[in-house]
Symmetry: none
Subunit: 190 residues, 4 copies
């Protein structure tokens, strides 16, 4: 329970200051616990980040996976993924801020986060399925398609994180529509 308080505090602090700049003492203070307790539960600052990311990506990856396995047309499954990802910004902006700011910056992290790979694999699977049943264009490599779609989503959230793109309810709704219309739309056969 105390452990969870620390984890939640870490999300806020890492999101606010970035991993390198954040101090372990900031996390402890934010969680309202003593310094050493962070080291009692996690062995190091690095381990805290890893735990946070496991958590976050774990939730996101399983949500995406569930959609990927749903008995729906590929296009619709992609649309649902777009909504899940973009809405996570509303649900927990600090978490998204953290994912956006840190993950790509630490290449090593990717290897230690199988959840990320799983999420990408799910996306890829949806695309491949859609190509198989003819609803999506076959010229595009499914893996590349997954990366492009993710890139568009990640960049939009980055814009929100940085305050460079509007993130009110209407703008979020519009972003959903437009990613679907543009990127998902760009993948469908015509």
């Amino acid at each position: 329970m105390r452990r969870d308080r620390i984890l939640a505090a870490a999300v806020r602090v890492f999101a606010e200051r970035g991993y390198e700049t954040a101090r372990v003492s900031d996390i402890a203070a934010e969680a309202g616990v003593a310094y050493g307790l962070v080291y009692h539960y996690f062995g190091s600052k690095d381990a805290v980040l890893e735990a946070v990311c496991h958590d976050a990506w774990g939730r996101l990856a399983s949500a995406i996976e569930a959609v990927a396995d749903a008995a729906l047309p590929a296009q619709e499954r992609l649309e649902r993924v777009v909504k899940i990802v973009l809405r996570s910004w509303r649900d927990d902006p600090d978490l998204v801020r953290l994912l956006v700011r840190e993950i790509n910056r630490n290449p090593e992290m990717e290897d230690e986060l199988p959840e990320i790979a799983a999420a990408f694999a799910s996306l890829e699977r949806i695309v491949a399925g859609g190509q198989h049943d003819g609803s999506l264009r076959t010229a595009v490599d499914p893996k590349l398609a997954a990366w492009m779609l993710w890139g568009a989503l990640d960049e939009i959230m980055t814009g929100w994180v940085l305050g460079r793109l509007p993130d009110d309810v209407a703008a979020v709704a519009a972003a959903e529509r437009e990613v679907i219309a543009t990127v998902v739309g760009g993948l469908v056969s015509r």
Copy 2:
């Protein structure tokens, strides 16, 4: 000349270790110069990063701007931008690695790099122009479109940086084609 050696070394070191983790002494060692010389030419570690980024984005931004101003159909101008961006990976992967790892995620940096804003504005201008002449769909906000396209490009380069996407000549060519087909294709009116 010595200054340029330092700048080039900084690109390599920042690309390899990331800004926070890189030491000024690493840069000096990589450049083969003495410690203090970095401070002689640049006033601080921060200033080195800024100089590096000005250089990098300056070149990219002016190339994009030139395309944006060309007397060509919007769709074709977008295609050229895609090629310019993705080919910069082949020309100077360390520079791209740096752009990917540091700049896009760093709030403070954006303010100090008008070149980035200029590049995004150019993209946005192309999209708005295409919507105006009817070649691109008007439902999508030009700014959001610019961010999505950039996101797809950035993510693909990230995949290359991380070694998660193939980056041989054929794969780079395919990526160009597929970003154009998918994202640019998703923007055109039909």
Copy 3:
């Protein structure tokens, strides 16, 4: 009983890592008990060391004292002391390792371990007795003689502890013979 398990574990851990480097948690883990139990039985890390040393030196000192009081020629009593000391290596190497590594070098400890002083006094008493009855040379100061003999024994055990001197049965037997021949032999009148 639980207390004894902790004590035995402490011997092993102190022997392995040295007092300063050993952690209380190491001792608890080695003993298979909870953290706080060490503090329940002993009040502090220091007290654990002291208890261990009392035990160890207590046994050694009383054995030496018994020999010192035996109705035997001084030379033979010294020989027996040599055997007692060197054989304790076979009986409990960790204990010897601890004695060698920590106690002899720690000024504060000596004051708190009257057993050590008693052991040295016994040795000294044997030498003085031998000088009195004419069997040992009188030129040498009994106290210095005791320290030299102890030094030779301690160094040999150190060699064993460090794996720098062979410690198989034959080597131990040879060491006994040779300390007796050399140091004890060097003390006898001729």
Copy 4:
């Protein structure tokens, strides 16, 4: 030069407080330099100790080696070694205090200090030489003899370090005489 000041300060501080208990800041303060300079010259606290020990043992080992190579009877060479070692206490008690307190406590150190091995090898060589020319008893293993002699010397210096044995000029002279009479005397053929 500043480096030497740090080294000399380290000898004093380690001698006074012991390696584990000594703080790097103590060394810096004792040397009258800034904190970081210790790390500028030596990479770590451990490296400081190692440098100190290299120095100290280097000098002692080469002195012993010189004696071992001298064209003198083995017995006389041993006597000279005894004097060299015991007189180093007068010359630099802090250094001896350090050697006595730390070296034997850190088994790993021995491997990193070839000088110690060299000193022991010199002693061993003298004994073997004496056995060869018939001046020393052949029953004793030269290596064991070297360790015994060293043990006697080390223990006497320990007594001085701990203030348990008198260390005035007369006592030092007596110690020399008595180690020679007893241990060296115990090695000679009769």
